[in-house]
Symmetry: C2
Subunit: 235 residues, 2 copies
């Protein structure tokens, strides 16, 4: 890696959930020589394991700042990720449907990107990195390229920096990759996936269930690369 002084680097904000995708995106932003600040959200998710993972990932990557924002989306209800609804389980990845599942959280990425935008504008960052992907995903509408493009347009219409010509860019480098391709890229960049949590329904001790959409997609991604997923599974 070239020796670029911190002062000359462009600042970026990375949305860091603590999952596999956002850990990879953080490594990409670092590789691209950005001075990185990370933002995570305590949004009423049933398990906080992913926030502990986010803190470890951020520390290991040596980010400049890591903020965790409290915004309780569970008060609105309507999602298996924030309310006591059953997370769908399957025996095989082939059973994952195309319809939007009940793990969908209303407008989640719109809210998260908006807060990341507010943070970015405040600290002088104009590049936002987000780990959405539209392939090997759970069918969420706010993970698609047209959504990300529209948010970039909104960011440049609705901020002082944007309308002054100091434009925001929303980077979604994983958006058209398979989970296997994401994992291959991350391993090449030195991401330690043992520090990540993807499961929608982990045990109290933090072991992944192995049967939700997120576990099944992740397990297949490692298998397709000939690797074993380093996180612990309940069975």
């Amino acid at each position: 890696m070239a020796d670029v002084s911190l002062a000359s680097r462009r600042r970026a904000v990375v949305l860091l959930s603590g999952g596999l995708d956002s850990a990879t995106v953080l490594a990409i932003a670092k590789q691209e020589q950005y001075e990185v600040s990370a933002i995570s959200f305590r949004y009423g998710q049933r398990h906080q394991i992913e926030l502990a993972c986010a803190a470890r990932i951020a520390a290991r990557a040596g980010v400049t700042r890591h903020v965790t924002i409290d915004i309780d989306l569970s008060q609105f209800g309507g999602s298996a990720l924030t309310a006591p609804l059953a997370v769908p389980k399957h025996t095989s990845v082939d059973e994952i449907g195309q319809e939007i599942p009940i793990t969908y959280v209303p407008a989640r990425n719109t809210v998260f990107l908006s807060l990341a935008l507010a943070y970015a504008e405040s600290i002088g960052a104009r590049d936002l990195f987000v780990g959405v992907n539209a392939l090997d995903y759970s069918g969420y509408p706010d993970c698609r390229p047209e959504f990300i493009q529209c948010f970039e347009q909104l960011a440049n219409l609705g901020t002082k920096a944007g309308v002054s010509g100091d434009r925001f860019s929303i980077h979604a480098p994983l958006i058209e990759l398979t989970k296997a391709q994401i994992i291959a890229w991350g391993i090449q960049l030195g991401v330690d996936y043992a520090d990540t949590s993807s499961c929608y329904d982990p045990t109290a001790t933090g072991r992944a269930c192995g049967h939700c959409d997120a576990c099944l997609l992740r397990l297949r991604g490692f298998a397709q690369n000939g690797f074993t997923d380093p996180v612990s599974y309940a069975d």
Copy 2:
């Protein structure tokens, strides 16, 4: 007003700041026969008077629900509305400039509309009402028609309802009105402006300063209608 049963009404979410504009918009949504839920934000603003006003306005209008969301934008810094920076004061409304002032809060309306969208999707509302206006305003970029249009597009790309064809509409009925026109409309609808707070820098007892952008624009709006503003001013 026609007698329309609650069950047959379309649901709407009104963004209610406690200011003059949002109080008027709430009255408009009620007049248009929506079943209204209101959403307010405790976002780290220096004064909480406007939240007390929002509660009174909501109660008086008979909304179905009123939620106040905690989201601390002051932790990002950079605004005179959330940090101990001096709010600009003037002796006349003619001194208000065209540049974006330091009362600008980074990405505020993007954040507020995103949370209102999450709330709306959760409760089955597809109409959002917001009191932005692009005339007689403080030069904020997130109060312009092109911003609102882009947010509507984003809402329909990034939500389960939107992509299912159950489309969201963002209503900004004041966007091209002068403050005088807004006040005239509100008085016709029976809005009690004594319940509203617009001042950026009120006294500890809740009296308006009379010299910030918001006070001067408001005072001129009442004067142009031949009315006296019913709120208390410090001098």
